[in-house]
């Protein structure tokens, strides 16, 4: 008997852009259907559940504001990671870089909040956060460039150090009321102003989107990063200073992370605590990859994740569905989105579906 394999995989030729987006959209629908099953299992109508999610996130102005507020650090950090990932430098230390940036900014907020006026204070805080984040990111990069240490582990470990330092400050030198283990709220001068009800961090990240797009695509430095990511030998051959590029790119990445830390501390939390990064440094990795490092796509992805997370808390408050269920839904959606890339790159041929004219 002639038995072909049941399924064969074949690489696809380039697919039309429109079709690719159709597949991605299909994956989203499929994920939502899978999610419905979970809602059915816990005994809720999927329609009600999805409705509640949408309603709490996009249904009212306060929800939308919260979504934007959640999306800002995600988008900012994903943008920060883009050049590193393009260079195949696995910076998973955004968490620590955000924390460091927030800490540097907080130093000025606490010490000069009463004496300085708002604009210069905020500018100094911003600059300080950029320096803090960049410093934290450049340490592993120097080791990588010089001694070839593994940046993945190094940047990861740096996270815990940064968080530990802030935990110490929170419990010691910067503690507000004795025994509270809380750093006091920032003075008004140290708080980012709002526009349309959300702190102006959203404008800053949108500017960053444009900056990162141009930087990666049209500048010499962006080109250096791409070439180095493709092949280190080629980069040397092209006369590029590899270790300098690694250091510089890590510093830029850390600087943006630091700025995100500043925006979160000053704009959203109006104080500093050890959990300031709140996992954004890791979630942003997903955002960056799902967007395939395209800054504009990152806007959509980070908004989508922010809608999901706001929707999740909405579910909990309005329907009493535990947050873990919403986490599952988020996980399913991300898995489907990543998984559909496979179908964009490969084609499946099933047994029996012979190409033209051959009798079975």
């Amino acid at each position: 008997m002639n038995k072909d394999p049941l399924i064969r995989l074949a690489k696809r030729a380039n697919m039309a852009k429109g079709k690719i987006w159709m597949i991605r959209f299909g994956a989203l629908v499929f994920a939502l259907l899978l999610g419905s099953l979970i809602f059915l299992i816990v005994g809720t109508s999927p329609v009600t559940a999805y409705g509640a999610m949408l309603n709490s996130s996009l249904g009212k102005a306060s929800g939308i504001r919260q979504v934007v507020k959640n999306a800002v650090p995600l988008l900012g950090t994903a943008l920060a990671l883009a050049p590193c990932f393009k260079m195949k430098y696995w910076n998973i230390g955004a968490e620590g870089q955000i924390t460091m940036g927030a800490m540097f900014a907080t130093f000025f907020a606490l010490n000069f909040g009463k004496t300085w006026s708002s604009l210069p204070l905020l500018l100094v805080m911003g600059i300080a956060s950029v320096i803090g984040g960049a410093l934290w990111a450049v340490i592993p990069a120097i080791f990588k460039a010089r001694w070839g240490t593994n940046e993945t582990l190094f940047t990861l470990m740096m996270n815990y150090i940064a968080i530990g330092i802030v935990a110490y400050l929170q419990d010691g030198p910067w503690e507000g009321k004795k025994g509270s283990q809380i750093i006091p709220n920032f003075d008004k001068a140290a708080v980012l102003p709002k526009l349309f009800g959300v702190h102006i961090g959203w404008i800053i990240v949108l500017l960053l989107v444009a900056f990162m797009f141009v930087y990666m695509k049209y500048t010499k430095q962006g080109y250096e990063i791409s070439v180095l990511g493709e092949s280190e030998n080629t980069a040397r051959y092209a006369g590029m200073n590899v270790s300098r590029i690694i250091r510089r790119t890590a510093a830029i990445s850390g600087a943006i992370c630091g700025l995100v830390g500043f925006m979160v501390a000053s704009g959203a939390n109006q104080t500093l605590y050890s959990g300031v990064a709140a996992g954004v440094g890791f979630t942003a990795i997903t955002v960056a990859w799902l967007a395939q490092l395209n800054p504009f796509a990152m806007i959509a992805i980070s908004l989508m994740l922010a809608v999901l997370s706001k929707g999740a808390s909405g579910l909990q408050t309005s329907l009493g569905i535990p947050a873990s269920i919403s986490d599952m839904i988020t996980g399913i959606i991300l898995l489907c989105m990543l998984g559909c890339e496979f179908f964009i790159n490969y084609r499946m041929i099933f047994r029996g579906k012979k190409t033209e004219g051959k009798a079975a």
Partner: protein
């Protein structure tokens, strides 16, 4: 015993990759006790056809028969169960393991290295190999690694062997040794398929030749009844003149004067020892040598990519004062007009960014030339179009990743870019590695064109026939030393072969 069935028979085999048809209705057979050469240009479908036999690809249409019976080969494992073994161009060995450990890897029998080593010795004795089962792979020469690959396949009982361009990395002497082994295996009744595009090897070792062209089987002929020019005609579909236009260098002036050059690698091993020569403008200087004799290091040292322990490299541009290149950065050297087009074994490792298109790859030369923080994408696109038209690069678009182009086209992009900078010294290494005849000649023509412009061309090559026909002088490296510089017009292959293996009277390896 009368043979009633063919060892392998392809019936109407078709394989497509996306929109490219790699094999189109191929009918072909092979008997036991025969060495068959599978001849064809790049992209003619040789390797994809063999990959179907080895279970790496699965045909879209048609069937494969082994010993007259339908065979369903879905994986390399299936292939082994039919006694089919393939020796790939890129070895699949674990570097830190010994030869015996590599052979034992993945076997389903009891893990007993002593027994494995014993059986390996038996195989070696039978076919005239020579290998130490306890030697680690990373200590081996390319030829030894290949031997391990062959033994690995034989050990698993393969009696249909496929070798994908096995001689590409071997010296003439090693090639001859390999051919003796192949002949011994043939006499033992094995069916052997040799993928190649070197005509002299086809003539030397095979019994029959199957020619593929553009995915189609053109003909299978007995080697004894054909000749290289007939084969070439079948391969390319039209006659290609095998003559390279070699004129006397007019008015050669010293361009590059290398003296006492000594270079060590990162482990401190001397790779070049007291190398000295002069490259003249308007001449092609060939560099011959066994793979790893210091060719790569020499070119990299001149290009500023390697630390130079001792020696000087004096560069004399036309009408300008001589300058010392040692101590300059790669960028400064390149700006002075010294170009390097190095085609590494994997083609993409150095000189190209595989994920980028032609246009962005052109920028590798010029990205830093324009003032300001931005790269000049427009001129790189224009350059890409020029190279595309000049060298007939087959690509859907100049932004299509070069990684996805065929090997020959990748090389065209690389060499084309280097020539486009109109250098005064052009160094190329293995510029025609793995290229078919047509494309090779385009590259040769480009070299000759550079020579006529007064460029000093340094051409590191593998094929001695080509070196002798193309170059004006040939420098032979052996173990990092210059063992001789000969006049290409009067020298012979034997003379060069001798210089390749001997330095200062003592026998090389």
């Amino acid at each position: 015993m009368e043979q009633t069935f063919h060892a392998v028979e392809f019936r109407n085999i078709t394989k497509r990759f996306g929109e490219v048809t790699a094999n189109n209705g191929i009918d072909l057979y092979l008997d036991r006790g025969v060495i068959m050469s599978l001849l064809g240009e790049n992209g003619s479908g040789k390797t994809s056809l063999m990959n179907m036999l080895a279970g790496i690809y699965y045909p879209d249409d048609g069937e494969i028969l082994i010993d007259g019976k339908h065979a369903e080969i879905r994986s390399p494992h299936d292939a082994f169960s039919y006694g089919i073994g393939m020796i790939h161009q890129h070895f699949k060995l674990v570097d830190v393991f010994t030869a015996a450990e590599n052979v034992a890897l993945g076997l389903e029998e009891k893990f007993d290295l002593r027994a494995t080593a014993y059986k390996m010795k038996e195989i070696c004795g039978k076919y005239g190999f020579d290998i130490d089962p306890d030697k680690k792979i990373y200590e081996m020469s390319v030829s030894e690694k290949q031997t391990v690959e062959i033994i690995k396949v034989l050990y698993r009982g393969a009696d249909i062997l496929i070798l994908d361009e096995p001689t590409a990395v071997l010296t003439p002497q090693e090639t001859e040794k390999l051919f003796n082994v192949l002949r011994a295996m043939r006499d033992d009744g094995k069916a052997i398929i040799l993928i190649t595009h070197k005509l002299n090897e086809v003539m030397a070792v095979s019994d029959v030749v199957a020619v593929l062209r553009k995915g189609q089987h053109i003909a299978t002929v007995r080697t004894a009844e054909t000749n290289p020019s007939d084969l070439t005609n079948m391969m390319v579909g039209r006659a290609v003149t095998l003559n390279i236009n070699r004129f006397k260098p007019k008015d050669p002036t010293p361009r590059l004067t290398v003296a006492g050059l000594t270079v060590r690698d990162s482990e401190g091993v001397k790779k070049l020892n007291n190398v000295g020569f002069i490259a003249y403008g308007g001449e092609i200087l060939g560099i011959a040598g066994i793979a790893g004799s210091g060719q790569k290091e020499l070119l990299e040292a001149i290009a500023g990519l390697r630390h130079i322990e001792d020696g000087s490299i004096i560069y004399t541009p036309e009408g300008k004062n001589p300058e010392e290149l040692v101590g300059k950065t790669p960028m400064e050297i390149r700006d002075a007009g010294v170009a390097l087009a190095f085609v590494p074994e994997d083609r993409l490792g150095m000189g190209l960014a595989p994920g980028m298109g032609m246009a962005d790859n052109m920028l590798i030369r010029t990205w830093n030339k324009t003032p300001g923080p931005f790269v000049d994408k427009r001129s790189s696109e224009e350059l890409a179009k020029q190279v595309h038209d000049l060298l007939d690069v087959v690509t859907p678009d100049i932004h299509y990743p070069v990684r996805k182009l065929s090997g020959g086209n990748v090389q065209k992009v690389l060499v084309g870019r280097e020539i486009a900078t109109s250098p005064t010294v052009l160094m190329t290494a293995y510029a025609v590695r793995g290229l078919d005849i047509n494309t090779s000649y385009i590259i040769y023509d480009l070299m000759v064109g550079q020579k006529s412009k007064g460029t000093a061309v340094v051409f590191v090559g593998e094929d001695l026939d080509v070196l002798i026909e193309l170059c004006d002088r040939i420098l032979v490296l052996c173990g990092g030393e210059v063992s001789g510089i000969v006049d290409a017009r009067t020298t012979t292959k034997d003379e060069i072969g001798l210089l390749m293996t001997k330095v200062g009277g003592k026998e090389g390896k």
